[in-house]
Symmetry: C2
Subunit: 348 residues, 2 copies
């Protein structure tokens, strides 16, 4: 899922998302949209789909992660979390009920529950207490969801978020708590927050065993191309990450042969395309030399073209993964990709 | 002409320029392109058209204006101008011959001569001396043009630039000097540099009398919609201005009823389009409320959508002017537009 935190995938217009990148779903953020433009405007617009003119599915993260990473002076209470806006310092209080209400105003197709995302490292005692809070809130999220209705005539779904930090017993009990509530899908939260990749893979592998096979499994905030392939192998279906768009804004472009640092002087007279295996608008029309010029000259077009390319690359990767799974050849294909992926570590 | 100083119209990709804005020509800048990416890369690319993937005409300003407004430590000499790059302080020397050479490397369809653009106000003695320099350089520009050939197999044209500050006798003599050299077209330079609009209109009116009727007349760096209509009435054919794109980046959008300041709170729940009389991508797809949200949230998409709209507005205006001229109704139409144009002074 391309990330459109504030109701726009940064630097990419909806037409390219639709016709070039062919995104089937985008992610937006409850915390950000609640602060700006606010639910009153979203409701008047007839929901986020109409507001941003995007007819395909939207998933909204609940804002739990943002409250713990962006907001100021937060106070965690039994029934919710008090925080001050990172924009203007104004005071707010989020409860599971409140978040469900905001997500009804947004009208996202997939709503995420309010949870607490633990940092890494995190002591066992805190992780256990936090997991219990997330499980308790999950009940309240589900009740609010069941007791409210969509505002715009289309069905909305609610996903639970499994927490438990790096502790397998907590992950298991979190998963069981949530699965007993019968959500429409399940996310693994609290990973990719600084722990080693091998530890993350091990925890994904462990946790997915407790997740239903017939419901979507979503790994939140992950990640690098190799992280995504490893997680797919361990049974994950859905991902979101700012990496393709953020890296593009920092002049790092993904290719089938590794990452290109577009400010590098070696590209200045390279008139080949970013990736000959890519069919995105950028690769169909422009050279590495032109992209480098745009990045060096700090032109906005660099951010647009780079973001289009990186998103196209990511969606190509997961589309191909799906094809290989269906064809029964995922494992071999993944290994061949991973052998090239060492190149992602060295930047050209 | 949309302005694409560094080989990109800021925040607008070539596909929108082509299919939505329907630009027939864009402007780029010799000074900027010489410094970055440089002529070596442009030549390797096969010229600017190929480098930026833009097959329609390109006009390049010579860089005279930029040397006098941007570059540092410039020293005007008899045969050219020495300056330091505004980017890295490196020393360069531009002569008419050198500029023609750079414009051959760029491969622009319309090349502008190297001139000196006088500031406003400008004392008569300086203006006269400067006009003489520009006329002397015009001869050298023309000689270099006649003694060189296009590098990429397409014809290039050379326009002269009439100077003379606000002094009619100097404007007349500058025009006569240039016309005697038989350029492919003629520009009026050195206006819209701070003088009152009425003085500018009077000087345009005066100067066009000395310009051939059968060759394009180009008023450089102008301007506001009303300036353009007034200049068209006085016989000008071509314009360039950063106003549509720069204003869009500053959240000012042009409409047939006046300028909108998109950060204004009044737009926050206005779900109408920017301009109901506009058929641009932005107006076909998005509301004022969404645009305001994007500007307030400092999203790059605001700059893209705003720039597309403002350029579309400007090109609609001049297309309509052309239609009204052909229909013999320009004067009445212009008056009706001007009566609304007082709105351009007050911002909504």
């Amino acid at each position: 899922m391309p990330v459109g935190t504030q109701g726009t995938v940064k630097a990419v217009d909806q037409e390219y998302l639709r016709s070039d990148i062919k995104a089937q779903i985008i992610l937006s953020n409850t915390y950000h949209l609640y602060l700006r433009p606010g639910t009153e405007i979203l409701e008047k617009a007839g929901g986020l789909h109409k507001f941003i003119n995007w007819e395909k599915p939207i998933l909204t993260d609940s804002g739990g992660f943002q409250i713990f990473s962006l907001a100021e002076l937060r106070k965690l209470k039994h029934d919710g979390v008090e925080f001050r806006s990172h924009l203007d310092g104004s005071k707010h209080f989020f409860t599971p009920e409140k978040v469900i209400g905001i997500e009804r105003s947004i009208g996202s197709d997939i709503m995420m529950v309010l949870d607490e995302c633990t940092p890494y490292p995190c002591e066992y005692a805190y992780a256990r207490k936090s997991k219990e809070l997330t499980s308790r809130w999950a009940v309240l999220n589900k009740e609010s969801f069941d007791n409210s209705v969509p505002l715009y005539g289309h069905k909305q779904f609610l996903f639970g978020i499994i927490q438990g930090s790096v502790y397998k017993d907590l992950r298991e009990s979190s998963a069981k708590d949530l699965v007993s509530l019968d959500f429409d899908g399940y996310a693994i939260g609290g990973l990719a927050v600084g722990e080693p990749a091998e530890m993350m893979y091990d925890l994904i592998n462990f946790t997915t065993d407790f997740m239903p096979e017939n419901k979507p499994r979503y790994l939140m905030g992950v990640g690098r191309p190799e992280n995504i392939l490893e997680a797919i192998e361990r049974g994950v279906d859905m991902f979101d990450c700012v990496m393709p768009t953020r890296n593009a804004r920092n002049a790092y472009l993904f290719t089938s042969e590794g990452i290109l640092s577009m400010r590098n002087a070696k590209h200045k007279d390279d008139f080949s395309v970013i990736d000959p295996n890519c069919s995105c608008y950028t690769c169909k029309n422009f050279s590495r030399a032109y992209l480098r010029h745009l990045y060096i000259a700090k032109e906005i077009l660099a951010l647009e073209l780079g973001s289009i390319h990186n998103l196209h690359f990511y969606l190509d990767l997961v589309k191909e993964a799906r094809k290989q799974i269906i064809g029964g050849t995922f494992k071999d294909w993944k290994d061949s990709i991973l052998s090239k992926i060492t190149n992602y570590q060295k930047i050209n």
